[in-house]
Symmetry: C2
Subunit: 245 residues, 2 copies
Amino acid sequence: MAAQGVSRRERVRQTTLAEIRAAARRLLIEQGPQAVTINAVAREMGMSGPALYHYFSGHEELVGAVTADFFRELIQVLESARDAYPRGEHGPRLMAACRAMRRWAIANPAEYRWVFASPITADRQPGSARELAGSDFEQVFLEEVTELWESRPFPVPAPEELDPSIREQLAAYAASAGVGLPVEAIHVFLSCWIRLDGLLCMEMLNQLDFFYSDLEPVFEDCLREIAPKLGLDYVATPAGPSEGT
Amino acid sequence: MAAQGVSRRERVRQTTLAEIRAAARRLLIEQGPQAVTINAVAREMGMSGPALYHYFSGHEELVGAVTADFFRELIQVLESARDAYPRGEHGPRLMAACRAMRRWAIANPAEYRWVFASPITADRQPGSARELAGSDFEQVFLEEVTELWESRPFPVPAPEELDPSIREQLAAYAASAGVGLPVEAIHVFLSCWIRLDGLLCMEMLNQLDFFYSDLEPVFEDCLREIAPKLGLDYVATPAGPSEGT
DNA sequence: TAGATTTGCTTAGAGTCATTAAGGAAACAT
DNA sequence: ATGTTTCCTTAATGACTCTAAGCAAATCTA
């Protein structure tokens, strides 16, 4: 029922790996990022420090694994929020994903900061787990916007209105990432994305505490401004999903 | 010529303090934030570690002092960019300050991240040097916008269009910070601020590397969108300042 | 100007980290 | 039953923060 092709050893190993990442997360939440040390994690699970080196090549790899976990979790949260609405309803699906992102950030501030406002500049090499998970994450929104565009194109600036340098950079990105969207549409999408995520970023970095105590209405305001740019209707209270898949 | 009421000792002490902060900054730039340790800073100036405890109560206070330095420097940069234009020209003055902020961030990425994307969650207590410098920093923009508003009010949403919760929060902020601007105007200002700084924030956290290699035109695009919200004309190439003070 | 005090530094040391090395014991494979 | 792999331990190195104890020079005081 459990063992298929994987040996018992392998299963135990995976369990331990998961336990390690869980302990690291607990430390992150309870005592902050600087508390996530090899020693502390090991102690947390009744092991001695060097034992962890059988599971991770070092501190950095542990950090990378935990980060990848968070990305996966966030992607999953976004996808299920999105999939609460049927495939064709791109507006509600996008809005739901946006709101879910903020909800996750609010519920998991330490994790959000760990991932996005990473003190850890390392692990930025292309090909790292982090980089891969990061692009998967963008993909959730980009895919939906692509479908939206294909089913009902939103208004875009005229080609000559777009700064040539921006055009060039986006063309390069589209080519390398295989995005099936015209440059102008990517520009509109990214403008919206930057506004929304920039706001969330500032909120999570506590840069707005001085002015606001609750940014939820500000976030909604941002959604309201963004919606028409993608040709969508802003809906304040998301109506119950119309019985999706 | 130099010694006034301060003793020679005090002067030497201040010099040493400055040298310590400079060494810390050098380490930050050359080897990243994790290299800014008490020991490394001391070594950098030919001292032994514990000596620094005569100047700072510990690592955290050193970090705080360096942060405050950066804030002061940034404020100074903003002010002189602004003051390159005469007092009445609020548009050019604001734009200049915005561009100067990005220029400083680009020229001093480590410092910018140190200040704004601080891994260091500590030192957030109200009254800390950091908090004070932070509010001075906002003040540069807020003051200018206030003068702009008083000389030539920009369009604001009708009172009933503004979310009641936002209104309430901004009213509280205005009262506590002594802002002489109606709530609606604060809202417009903050919307602009959040867009601009959110973009810069994401840029500096490398969240946009995937899409763009050079964000300067994107930043300009943002300025172009923001300008009319404050009733200003967007000017791409800032004309030489008309011989300000 | 001599003596007391303050200040700036030193080294020593305790406790934390990351990481490597060496070895024991249990699980597994044959 | 034997050999191998795997998991974990302790020991040790060198970094870090920070406290303690103490020397020596600068400064103040009488």
